[in-house]
Subunit: 322 residues, 2 copies
Amino acid sequence: MRPDGTVTVLAGGVGAARFLAGLVEAMDPTHITAVVNTGDDTRLHGLHISPDLDTVTYTLAGAIDPERGWGLRSETWDAMEALDRYAAVRPARSGAAASWFRLGDRDLATHLYRTHRLGEGASLSDVTAEIAQAWGLPLTLRPMTDDRVETLVDLAGGDEVGFQEYFVHLRHDVAIRGVRFSGVDEARPAPGVLGALDDAGVIVIAPSNPIVSIGPILAVDAIARVLQRRREDVVAISPIVGGRALKGPADRMLGELGLPVSVAGVARGYRDVAATLVIDREDEALVAAVEAEGLHCVVTDTVMRDVTVATSLALTTLGVVA
Amino acid sequence: MRPDGTVTVLAGGVGAARFLAGLVEAMDPTHITAVVNTGDDTRLHGLHISPDLDTVTYTLAGAIDPERGWGLRSETWDAMEALDRYAAVRPARSGAAASWFRLGDRDLATHLYRTHRLGEGASLSDVTAEIAQAWGLPLTLRPMTDDRVETLVDLAGGDEVGFQEYFVHLRHDVAIRGVRFSGVDEARPAPGVLGALDDAGVIVIAPSNPIVSIGPILAVDAIARVLQRRREDVVAISPIVGGRALKGPADRMLGELGLPVSVAGVARGYRDVAATLVIDREDEALVAAVEAEGLHCVVTDTVMRDVTVATSLALTTLGVVA
């Protein structure tokens, strides 16, 4: 990559946010665009909630709660506690919804603002830019699309549920047999997304869940086509280390969908859109398995304990396309 | 009124809430139905807000903030403070909306719950009953209608604005030339409202703003017709004392709409639907003016400094129809 080059990152939630926190230390952050998954956006209590956008925003603002990995640090929970009064009257599905998806008081402001602006007719792109500006983020954040895409999880038990129902309410502790992205066939990339992918010196697929975080982004056909065309400049980072997801259900999802639960499974998932996979030293023995899928393999430290590791990972990733 | 009789109260916000707090001390509260104005309901940040229903609920639950007269006591404001971050980026109309309508964190839970249930297809009546149950209210609360009615204020300057814009944002500090209730022609009384009015031993019009609190209720045609038919059993309490509204803009609104700014103006507004007006001792000299409008006039203490005065006022009001 040229030193003044631009980088575009396909991003999910926590893993992507940590990578981006390293990337902004590794290069001029004004040359970074993050294209963020919106497949797990949801409406709750009438509010439009964009979990991955918020996780990226709060992390880059240094405001994320470091233990939970989502929501704001030093958060208060008065609204949620007050909701319990109503959940007690109606403990059924809606009451449950009131409690299983926790919204902190300060975090609520983000959802109130977003919902208000969308109600005024602003696009999700516009609102995302405004929220990023409010938090002083130096990079460009874009939702993958301004259209409605909804990740739906087909449970092995037979029910199809929304992503948050699966992820938060069921704690991703149930077997699945499929995932689909409702609305994605009609979804257009958000303004600026294709340009950012076309112009980038390097395109990075962040260490996010390949199926439900990166999957929805790649399911937007025009985005996938750019990556296929630019495959040599696309570097993915494996979210699987030692056969386990660092966070969330990526490992069991890979297995349940018939892919190897390892960096080889990640490589297979990305082989059409990425030429290189970055894996952790713990998986050094699997370099050949990754290469067997048709990808170059780079080995480094990928477990982002702190921003120093994340910065080093970012520099290594950028160095792939030199 | 028979001692086991039932009472139905047409109610706005603060004045009605205080009266009801006295009424529940004066009689078996399970025999009380309050029919509450929803003309100043609004959507803000995607949330359905019912200010008068909430003021009545919180007051009867002993949870109202006594200084403000709205919202919850010991409230926290973390969500609103966090909204300021976004208002700073967009200080225009939407940013302003974020700050001029203050929603406390615990109060937000009520709006979240209501919005969530309405989104599930519940009626406002159902949700109102659930919220009343959650707060342990002993009486029956009903919205005047489950349909959408919107109080719009025609400003002397030429603009027509929503009630909250006039009341909260402009602090009702501007001249008006009219009020209308959008949607009221199609609005049906909420379930149980007509029955409660038909069956009541006494119908009370609470000391609320005649134009924008009681006005929308009486603009529901079927409700007005019951009151006209039962006029002899309808007792109104004047919210005007000594030519001034105890709270809010009822006084200047009366004047701007061409009515006397006094108990006589209140009497004129209610003469088709109420046979009796209860006025404060301060207005004793205006008994003849009230009677000239065709109403009986009862003089007592109407300024509800505390629940003792409110209870006494309630007993006097009930005693009118004996």
